[in-house]
């Protein structure tokens, strides 16, 4: 885990880091063919498994698209008479949906052709990537938040609430403080991190002091934060005086993250911050004494305590740091190009999506980055799919949930085949806990 190459090579990290979580302690008895197949599949590569999960999810998504389309359903009415009609109508719809998903997320060949032919600008070519990066940025932060807590054996469902408090403080700093350009942005970003840290510190402290389970408390704090946001938007000095609906004043331009590629594309400096955060968390986890404590507490709190690590202090600190990360994610939602004003839904679902991202990234920092990019791509592509083909963006949420479910399944199949009984429980030290 401390191999220095981990930081250097993100592609390798995702595949390499996830494997040692369940060391192949002893070769399982060579039972059935399926068992062997599954084992080999798993051993092959985490990337393979992830790719398979994505494919499976897309297949289920295709089925959903087909069964929910009235025109296609109509052709199924005479399915047995002319099955070709139904199949071609269905596959045409799915094909165009997924084609647009791709075009919106990565690159649109038409735009490339236009650019080469001199009819279009380069912006159109990079627009999809820019969108993907924009959507991925906050997810990197919330994903890191959840992943970091996971590694310490804590389940931070509160990234949503932490992001909300983060967005509030960042926005307040963004339009209430009259500061010069660079400093203003810095203060706003730090304010976001502090907001999140406070909201993470609370459940950490409650767990350390009273043993109250962080899952319950973070869920509750999410909703408290949500109501606090809707309240504060209407307060004087915060609310936009020209509007009657729930929207705040805009963040000053001095506090906004600069756009990376000019005004045509939305990608902003937040992504650089996100990559820095990934690097920072990777360093913290693998190279710092605090990371050592954190991982020891997460893997075996008894041994950590025996070796002199204060488990309770670690819990509190981890939750505060995780909160700060989620708070940064929240800050991105109002300092970046997504929005510049507080609204009740300003942070969208980034906290909950962060949980999925952390699971998909196998709780490894560079894995989280890749997972966030995948989710960002799905979201960006989903927009195009919605506007062009008219397939609801909600399909993306379904796909995301399905991918994680499919990821979870083989891991457990493995757990059952390879590790018996009580040892399987230990396997899940990172995840499994009661209230």
């Amino acid at each position: 885990m401390t191999t220095p190459t981990t930081e250097a090579d993100p592609n390798r990290a995702a595949g390499h880091d996830a494997a040692p979580k369940t060391p192949p302690a002893e070769p399982a008895p060579p039972d059935s063919f399926t068992q062997q197949f599954l084992q080999n599949l798993w051993a092959a590569n985490t990337v393979t498994v992830t790719a398979l999960a994505v494919v499976l999810a897309l297949i289920v998504g295709a089925v959903l698209i087909v069964v929910s389309d009235e025109d296609v359903l109509a052709t199924f009415g005479y399915f047995f008479a002319r099955p070709g009609d139904a199949l071609s109508a269905g596959s045409a719809l799915v094909g165009s949906a997924y084609a647009n998903l791709f075009k919106g997320a990565i690159v649109d060949p038409a735009a490339v052709a236009d650019w080469i032919g001199g009819d279009g600008g380069w912006q159109a070519v990079f627009a999809p990537i820019s969108e993907t990066l924009t959507y991925a940025t906050p997810l990197v932060f919330t994903g890191l938040s959840v992943a970091l807590a996971f590694r310490a054996g804590l389940f931070n469902i509160g990234a949503q609430g932490q992001a909300i408090i983060g967005v509030i403080l960042a926005a307040l700093a963004g339009f209430l403080l009259p500061l010069p350009p660079v400093l203003h942005l810095l203060v706003a970003v730090v304010a976001g991190a502090i907001g999140g840290a406070i909201w993470g510190f609370l459940p950490g402290l409650l767990k350390a002091r009273t043993g109250a389970h962080e899952v319950i408390n973070t869920i509750m704090l999410n909703y408290i934060a949500t109501y606090f946001l809707t309240w504060i938007i209407f307060q004087e000095g915060v609310h936009d005086p020209d509007r009657t609906d729930a929207i705040s004043r805009p963040v000053e331009a001095t506090a906004q993250l600069p756009l990376l590629f000019g005004s045509g594309l939305r990608a902003h400096a937040g992504i650089l911050l996100a990559v820095a955060a990934v690097w920072g968390v990777a360093w913290l986890l693998n190279r710092s004494t605090f990371g050592f404590e954190l991982r020891a507490v997460g893997a075996n709190p008894d041994a950590a305590r025996t070796a002199g690590v204060s488990v309770t202090t670690t819990y509190v600190l981890v939750m505060a740091v995780a909160g700060a990360l989620a708070g940064l994610g929240g800050a991105n939602m109002v300092l970046g190009s997504t929005a510049s004003q507080l609204t009740p839904l300003v942070v969208a679902q980034i906290g909950f999506d962060g949980i999925l991202v952390a699971l998909l990234g196998r709780t490894r920092p560079w894995g989280v980055l890749l997972a966030a990019l995948l989710f960002g791509a799905l979201r960006a592509g989903g927009n195009q799919m919605q506007s062009v083909v008219g397939i609801s963006l909600e399909l993306v949420t379904v796909l995301q949930a399905l991918i994680v479910i499919f990821i979870a399944a083989p891991a457990l199949v493995k757990a059952i085949f390879q590790l018996r009984a009580a040892r399987a429980a230990r396997l899940q030290t990172n995840l499994a806990k009661g209230w």
């Binding site: 959903l64 929910s68 389309d69 009235e70 389940f155 469902i157 409650l206 002091r209 009273t210 043993g211 109250a212 389970h213 899952v215 319950i216 408390n217 869920i219 509750m220 704090l221 999410n222 909703y223 408290i224 949500t226 109501y227 606090f228 809707t230 309240w231 909950f352 999506d353 949980i355 999925l356 699971l359 397939i391 609801s392 909600e394 399909l395 993306v396 949420t397 379904v398 796909l399 995301q400 949930a401 399905l402 994680v404 479910i405 979870a408 399944a409 457990l412 199949v413 757990a415 059952i416 009984a421 009580a422 399987a424 429980a425 899940q428 995840l431 499994a432 806990k433 009661g434 209230w435």
Partner: protein, 426 residues
């Protein structure tokens, strides 16, 4: 030992601190009561506060001068607190606590009503009670589903998803068949579908129960949202106009003053919820199924050594929980509204809070759900009379209360011992 002299070791006496649970609660109540009497009394206006036993300003009413009421009820709360602090009445702890809290709330209401805009210095009690129950309905169903799951050792954070799936399936099937009953059955199946996934993945594949619950919530949000936009939004006539259950007036009971119009002119879901609370409470504590369920949630190994099939029972109860929560979701779409995207909006998590606050018991969950429903209804009422109290802070109340409960500041909350732990034969 040869080298040491034997000392007389005085055992450290176990000192029970002065500040036990009752005294803490008493002190808190005393302080709150005095604060209420002084602050609310000063703030209260000269108007008469009326609590009308009807749905509007008409009819019989309790009337009290705002200032007098605020002071009087505040002092009542303080007195209850003082009694607890003095440890005069340990046996009446729950009762006194209840009196104290009610006193505090009434003191608060006297203040609020007396300063309401002219002509609105009344609170329609029937409305409040009915609204409380109405808002508590999905919470009751959800929390009951939670009780079944968690009493048998499976943490259920997927209540939100079960409610949502039930609401959706009920609306869809109800509209397509035109039958409320078919809708109800579909709603039960919808909830059970989420439960099935939860059960298979957590019991068979040992996925962490909380992780799975969270993922399933997102799946339900996505799935229902997607199908809503694809089907219901494009063609609401065909997919999203489910028939609604009418209200059933229960003879005799409906004539009870206040409670009658508030409770016994409701719809099937209200009666079903109350019935289920009683049935599940009875079943859990009085039947073989209940005994085994509780044993599986507390000490599965012991149950196993006595021949109880642990995993089978868990499967069954988790599925049943989905059925109940699914019906709870239908209480929206088959009685009140048509389906909208993400219409449960966090009620599933309040249901989880009610379950914890109600200490994993059906009746406790009912009371907690009603308390949360009341907070909700109160927020609506205060909004209507332009109160200075922000409704958002009242809406936070359930969540705050749960945090305090879990932290052990309000009584002792103990989950079933094996809750959340997968059972593996050694």
């Amino acid at each position: 030992m040869s080298t040491t002299t034997v000392e007389t070791v005085t055992a450290a006496p176990v000192t029970r601190g002065y500040w036990n649970r009752h005294r803490k609660a008493g002190a808190g109540l005393l302080a709150a009561g005095v604060l209420a009497a002084v602050a609310f009394g000063l703030l209260a206006g000269p108007q008469i506060a009326r609590f009308t036993f009807s749905e509007d300003a008409q009819g019989a009413a309790l009337e009290i001068d705002g200032v007098t009421g605020a002071v009087l009820f505040g002092l009542l709360a303080a007195a209850a607190g003082a009694a607890l602090l003095a440890e005069r009445a340990e046996r009446w702890f729950v009762g006194l606590l209840g009196v104290g809290l009610v006193g505090f709330v009434l003191s608060f209401l006297c203040w609020q009503i007396s300063v309401a805009p002219a002509g609105q210095n009344f609170m329609p009690v029937v409305n409040m009670v009915r609204g409380t129950f109405l808002l508590a309905l999905p919470l009751i169903f959800g929390a009951l589903g939670g009780v079944l799951c968690e009493r048998s050792g499976v943490v259920n954070v997927a209540i939100e998803g079960q409610l949502l799936m039930g609401a959706f399936a009920g609306a869809l099937a109800g509209t397509m068949t035109g039958s409320v009953w078919a809708g109800l059955a579909a709603a039960a199946l919808g909830g059970a579908f989420i439960s099935l996934l939860l059960a298979v993945f957590t019991i068979k594949y040992l996925v962490d129960q909380v992780v799975m619950g969270i993922v399933l919530n997102l799946l339900a949000v996505g799935l229902t949202g997607f199908l809503y936009e694809r089907l219901m939004q494009t063609d609401p006539q065909r997919y999203n106009q489910a028939p609604h259950f009418g209200s059933w007036e229960l003879p005799l009971l409906a004539d009870i003053p206040v409670l009658g119009p508030a409770l016994f002119r409701g719809n099937i879901f209200l009666y079903l919820a109350l019935l289920l609370v009683i049935v599940i409470h009875f079943a859990l504590f009085r039947t073989r199924w209940g005994l085994r369920t509780r044993s599986v949630g507390e000490h599965p190994t012991a149950a196993d050594t006595l021949g109880v099939r642990v995993l089978g029972l868990r499967y069954r109860n988790v599925l049943l929980a989905g059925v109940i929560a699914g019906i709870g979701g239908a209480s929206y779409t088959l009685a009140l509204y048509s389906f909208t995207k993400n219409m449960i909006g966090g009620k599933g998590f309040i249901a989880l809070a009610a379950l914890i606050f109600g200490r994993w018991s059906p009746t406790g969950a009912l009371l907690a759900a009603l308390f949360f429903g009341f907070a909700d209804q109160l927020a609506a009422y205060l909004g209507a009379i332009n109160s200075v109290i922000p409704s958002e802070f009242l809406a936070m109340l359930p969540y705050l209360a749960t945090i305090l409960a879990v932290a052990g500041l309000v009584g002792k909350v103990r989950a079933p011992a094996a809750d959340g732990k997968p059972y593996l034969k050694s």
